[in-house]
């Protein structure tokens, strides 16, 4: 049992000169992210899903290649095929981005955070920067791994891709970029909604329910609107062969970045205005 009078005798804090620095807030957010197990588990899930699903799909492609038609063989994109795991992995990175914010609200930690750093735009920016950097590095490593594993499984007579072929490096790197930016979009949603379940539901709705809703519209409307969906943008970004009716990979990526910037801007304004 500790005794009560100690504060004067314990090591004290150096005199306070100057102000909070962005570097300290960034380091703090890095400590937060790496000190909870859910981060490790989400990133592990991201890796297993992306690489594992890519491998599975490539193996399945080989086994049923003999029964595939000439048109299918003509349009076969080995790069895009090995990166299909991204469509599932995007949920893992989204959940991680959402939790980076909502776990603070769920536990009340946000009030300790904001008492330590009253500059709220700095808090949100540091969170987004640290999460974005981690998401980008992990996503790139994971997509490259998925590509390499997938291509090694695509054995003759099935064609496989190499990074030196035109458009391949762009597609593989693009997969990682897509995941990282989508994670930031999810972080912004988490900051706006503040509740884990609500934010995840919204995120899933945007990714998966929106395309289903679109199917209720006439084909011409579907064609016109579908290219604005994140899922369509993902498809274009990870493919070497491009289809009509989609934005080019970089235009699509630009649009995704614009969505994310808009959501983070709204999140920032609400973060400053609302009570914590």
């Amino acid at each position: 049992m500790p005794t009560a009078t100690a504060p004067a005798t314990v090591p004290t804090v150096p005199p306070a000169t100057g102000r909070l620095s962005p570097a300290g807030v960034l380091r703090s957010e890095w400590t937060k992210l790496r000190s909870v197990r859910s981060t490790v588990w989400s990133l592990l899930a991201l890796a297993v899903i992306t690489v594992g699903m890519g491998a599975l799909i490539c193996a399945a492609t080989v086994s049923r290649w003999s029964s595939s038609g000439p048109l299918e063989r003509l349009h076969f994109d080995p790069t895009g095929r090995s990166l299909r795991g991204i469509f599932l992995a995007q949920l893992a990175i989204g959940v991680l981005g959402i939790l980076a914010v909502t776990s603070e609200y769920g536990t009340g930690m946000i009030r300790a955070t904001l008492a330590a750093v009253p500059n709220r735009p700095l808090v949100l920016a540091a969170k987004a920067a640290v999460f974005g950097a981690v998401a980008l590095v992990v996503s790139e490593v994971v997509t490259f791994a998925a590509f390499l594993v997938g291509q090694s499984l695509l054995t003759s007579p099935v064609p496989h891709a190499t990074l030196g072929q035109p458009g391949v490096l762009r597609a593989v790197a693009g997969g990682g970029l897509y995941l990282a930016v989508l994670g930031l979009l999810a972080l912004g949603l988490g900051s706006i909604i503040r509740h884990t379940a609500g934010a995840i539901s919204t995120f899933v709705a945007i990714l998966l329910i929106l395309p289903l809703l679109l199917q209720a519209f006439p084909a011409s409307v579907q064609t016109a609107l579908s290219k604005f969906l994140p899922l369509t943008i993902a498809g274009s970004m990870i493919s070497v062969q491009q289809t009509a009716d989609t934005f080019s990979p970089w235009a699509g990526f630009g649009l995704l970045c614009a969505y994310t910037a808009a959501i983070l801007a709204v999140a920032g304004v609400l973060f400053v205005r609302r009570d914590a």
Binding site: M1, P2, T3, A4, T5, A6, P7, A8, V10, P11, T12, V13, P14, A16, T17, G18, R19, L20, S21, G24, V25, R27, S28, E29, T31, K32, S35, V36, R37, S38, S103, E104, T107, G108, M109, R111, A112, T113, L114, A115, A116, V117, P118, N119, R273, D275, A276
Partner: protein, 311 residues
Amino acid sequence: MIQAEALTKRYGDTLAVDDLSFEVRPGRVTGFLGPNGSGKSTTMRMIMGLDHPTAGRTMVNGRRYGDLGYPLREVGALLEAKAVHPGRSAYNHLWCLAQTNGIPRTRVDAVLQLVGLEDVARKRAGTFSLGMGQRLGMAAALLGDPGVLLFDEPVNGLDPEGIRWVRNLLRGLAAEGRTVFVSSHLMSEMALTADHLVVIGRGRLIADMPMAEFVAQSSRQFVRVRAPASTDLAGLLQRAGATVVPEADGALAVSGMAAPAIGEAAAAAGLVLHELSPQSASLEEAFMELTADSVEYRGDVPAGAVPDPTR
């Protein structure tokens, strides 16, 4: 030093805090009393820059919270128990707060030791009991060695030993010249800890005065007297102008006459006294009396709607 100036917070139609002004001075424990829902926590959150006032402002050390250079080195707060990610260790919880304000690792170790959590510092906070969570909150408040401290219900969930520890800690911090502002709904605990009181009811200031004065203000003051010849003594005191009410166990509750006067009157009459003890109303009674008055005064509260401060 904490100042609230015409502080007002409105949620929709509800005025949670209504034109509240007070000062919390260094070197003493200032108790913040009020029934549940009276606006104590809201006021504390506004002082910490977490909630935005609808009108008015709060200042800490003469500055707005957001203008403090390193907030944690000037102000520490325990606002809610277990406001910690359950998956993060106590050490990492404190370390991520310390990093923002340039506080060294040695200080993290020091506050963990101070609150007695050094042995479980690497354990996940989710495994902590409420009392351990409360200690971790205390450690976070003390992290920057701040001169101003706010505690919202700090003894919640603590065992008697923990309660005594908090009481001594708060008194020790005030004795070092720090500003200590502590809310509680436990009147008996506040009576032992606080030197000064800020009392609010329904968001408005009811009292801002020394503890002793607050209790003395209560009308329930009397002297308990025991004497073998209690009937003679009762007659004597009544003739001297006092009001005497016999108590169940034979003691006399005397009001309207101070203890020295009673003793002198008894001595002059040659009566032996076995007890002569001034009694003041408990803080709780004084508090109930005052908040009940304030609610009656407003007149817009239906009878029975007075919040129970003991809950």
